[in-house]
């Protein structure tokens, strides 16, 4: 692995997509390798471990979800999935299979780069033991289990803290409703999105300057929540 030039493997059967992804990543200082089908992707990751995998779901040989499952059997490499619209259920399924995030085709490079950086940072945090995350005016100290807004310590209930903690651990990447519900309320409540909505409301009141226009705790409609990355500017496309 190279700290300066993270290796990204782009898996997509469309050569034009691979081309612009290569250009986009290389301009940002990544080193890029390509695979045009699932088998090639699995071979490539075994031969030369990548720091990040960009995985298209519609591959000519094996289903992208299948590639992801096989990859997850032995590797924790961050995977960002390229999905199509109008399939929130599929996105959730892929995230549950171990994808770190997704972008919806067609997407802008800036959005993909933001997701990629977040996923790489999380991976790095895991190995370096970095324990504080700062988003906007908010600082979450995971080691001290303390949350500060403009250096003022916030009083959170244990469940509120747990919710924020999980989001902070995935800062910049989406966390599904199901995962949040399971981790905070337990398996039996995995479908009780009602709980989640009410808690996010309470949490936003404490951490956002305008809870109706959140800047920190963002919603991914139909999928889950994500904590914004510091200085995140996501240039989402109209899709």
């Amino acid at each position: 692995m190279n700290e300066l030039a993270p290796a990204v493997l782009v898996v997509d059967d469309e050569i034009q997509i691979r081309r612009f992804l290569r250009a986009g990543f290389e301009l940002e200082g990544y080193s890029v390798s390509e695979a045009e089908n699932g088998n090639e992707a699995i071979r490539a990751t075994t031969l030369r471990p990548a720091d990040l995998v960009i995985l298209d779901l519609a591959l000519p040989d094996i289903d992208g979800a299948n590639v992801l499952q096989r990859l997850r059997a032995w590797s924790t490499v961050p995977v960002i999935v390229l999905s199509v619209r109008s399939s929130e259920a599929e996105k959730v399924r892929l995230l549950e299979l171990g994808a770190d995030d997704y972008v919806v085709k067609p997407f802008g490079m800036a959005e993909l780069l933001a997701r990629a950086k977040a996923a790489l940072r999380r991976q790095a945090r895991g190995s370096s033991g970095e324990s504080a995350i700062t988003v906007d005016r908010l600082r979450i100290d995971l080691a001290a289990r303390a949350v500060f807004l403009d250096d003022e310590r916030l009083t959170l209930t244990p469940k509120e803290y747990r919710l924020l903690q999980i989001l902070a651990q995935h800062a910049g990447n989406v966390v599904t409703h199901q995962q949040l519900l399971k981790d905070v309320w337990g398996q039996p409540h995995v479908d009780d999105t009602h709980y989640l909505r009410i808690f996010v409301r309470k949490l936003r009141k404490k951490i956002e300057s305008d809870p109706n226009r959140p800047r920190i705790l963002l919603t991914e409609l139909g999928v889950g929540y994500r904590l914004a990355l510091p200085g995140e500017v996501i240039n989402r496309m109209t899709n």
């Binding site: 250009a23 509120e160 709980y195 009410i198 409609l221 496309m237």
Partner: protein
């Protein structure tokens, strides 16, 4: 002739013997009181009663029993079947002959009466049937009539399947008869055209019950399939029923043909197929277009952010033109895809509790580029109740309304987005200071492909946006309404979403 031995059966014979015994007892009592003449003739009473009620066999049995009883009890020597007096012997023989003939005639009369009754019912049925055929306005009326008529004719289960709909297997099902698996399979096979419509098949359902399966019309499958439970009947009855069914269906088919329904049905089928084909075409073309578009859009975003391009503002402007136009194209294709999704009934909302503010924010966020430069005032009531919807569909509906507001108002004016609570509903409304609506436009808003006459030449559009919004909202139990104080004076379009029980409640869930 149906006046056989069967109607009364064993019970009839027992009853007629009972009658004979009764007459015997009565005669014995009478003989104590009076001197009686030859009595055999009295036994004609049980014979005639038996013949009328229970048929020929019962009549013969009672005639024989009557003769035997007379000989035994009433003719000398008593208590013996022997009869001394030749004149009495002759009388007895005469009695037997009269009894048998009278019995036969009475039984036959009874049969004829039953037959006449049956025929009367059949004719009444047939008359009702033909009246219904004549007054039928749609194919389903005729099928309903055929079903009822056949059911009453056969007296057992009858299942009728209307014309097959393309790609959907068997057509409408008339009658609620439950069919065993094998019969169902045979019907499916017949519907799928695997069977010659001119031949009927008989299927055993596995328990010995026979079902007759045939096309309503021997000429084509366009009139549907009928399955009739024959029960465990003999070959003969089966043939009989078959002939009756043939006759009924021949009448019905003639009417069907007469009404030109065959044409109408195949025309409708062709229309559906054309429609389906068109939608499949739009769908696949749109998909085909999206793939290169994803590359174009992705590539331009790389270009726009590349330092080399950003340094040269003329190139940057060009790159932005490509990006914006590609985004517009993508948006139009998305609308087409949404439209085909609605038409092909592919909308399956995934209901979840949703935060109205999240829907509003996502709609604005996703349209950031398209709405760039517009002033948008958002005013959401604090603590709007949660709604139970497919948030993604509502977001897309709201997006369409926002796009419309932006499209039909001057870029220098502002757009207002408000969220409030109104009785049992959450209302999200988008107001602009644009072209407004005439009463006619207002009435037709949301119709597929509708575009106001004032706009057709001025503003590009497909007339799909609000139609899509309307379908998405309807799928979620919501709706939209548009108000305008008049032409050129702005429009307000409001989305109304029901607040379900528990939407406003904030439960205490923080106990550890």
């Amino acid at each position: 002739m149906r006046a056989g031995a069967s109607p009364g059966g064993w019970r009839g014979i027992v009853w007629s013997l009972g009658l004979v015994a009764l007459v015997t007892v009565a005669l014995m009592i009478l003989r104590r009181l009076f001197e009686l003449p030859p009595v055999a003739i009295t036994f004609l009473i049980p014979v005639l009663v038996s013949a009328i009620r229970w048929g020929t066999l019962a009549a013969i049995v009672s005639a024989t029993a009557g003769a035997a009883t007379s000989a035994y009890f009433f003719y000398r020597p008593f208590h013996s079947f022997h009869v001394d007096d030749p004149a009495r012997m002759l009388g007895l023989l005469l009695y037997v002959t009269v009894a048998v003939v009278a019995g036969y005639l009475a039984a036959r009369m009874r049969g004829e009466a039953a037959l006449a009754r049956k025929q009367e019912i059949e004719i009444r049925d047939l008359y009702a049937f033909s009246r219904r055929l004549a007054s039928a306005k749609a194919a389903s009326d005729i099928f309903e009539a055929i079903h009822q008529h056949l059911s009453s004719l056969v007296g057992r289960k009858v299942a009728l399947f209307g014309p097959a709909k393309p790609g959907r297997g068997a057509g409408e099902h008339f009658g609620d008869a439950e069919m065993p698996g094998r019969v169902r399979e045979a019907v499916m096979a017949a519907t799928a055209g695997e069977v010659d419509p001119a031949t009927a098949t008989v299927v055993d359902d596995g328990t010995g019950n026979l079902w007759l399966i045939r096309a309503v019309s021997p000429k084509s499958l366009d009139f549907g399939i009928v399955a009739i439970d024959l029960g465990q009947r003999s070959k003969e009855t089966e043939e009989d029923i078959r002939a009756q069914v043939d006759a009924v269906l021949a009448d019905a088919t003639t009417t069907l043909e007469h009404l030109g329904l065959a044409n109408a049905i195949s025309e409708a089928r062709m229309r559906t197929e054309t429609e389906r084909f068109r939608e499949a075409l739009i769908g696949s073309v749109s998909h085909e277009l999206r793939t290169p578009l994803a590359s174009i859009l992705g590539a331009t975003t790389v270009l726009c952010n590349a330092q080399a391009v950003q340094r040269e503002h003329r190139l940057l402007a060009l790159a932005n033109v490509v990006r914006e136009e590609a985004e517009r194209l993508n948006y139009d294709i998305q609308n087409l895809l949404d439209a085909t999704r609605i038409s092909s009934k592919g909308l399956q909302p995934k209901f979840e509790w949703a935060e109205p503010a999240d829907i509003v924010n996502t709609a604005l966020e996703r349209r950031r580029n398209r709405l760039a430069g517009r002033e948008i005032d958002v005013e959401l009531l604090d603590e709007l109740p949660l709604v139970y919807v497919d948030a993604v569909l509502i977001e897309q509906a709201l997006g369409q309304i926002l796009d419309n507001a932006a499209k039909y108002s001057s870029p220098t004016t502002s757009i207002r987005l408000a969220g409030r609570r109104d009785n049992g509903e959450v209302v999200l409304s988008v107001s602009d200071d644009g072209a407004g609506l005439t009463p006619d436009e207002r009435a037709r808003l949301g119709q597929r492909f509708f575009r106001g006459d004032r706009q057709i030449n001025n503003t590009p559009g497909s007339g799909l946006g609000l139609w899509i919004a309307n379908a998405f909202l309807a799928a979620n139990g919501g709706c939209f309404e548009a108000t305008s104080i008049g032409e050129g004076r702005g429009t307000t379009v409001s989305i109304r979403l029901p607040i379900p029980d528990g939407g406003g409640a904030s439960a205490s869930l923080d106990h550890e």
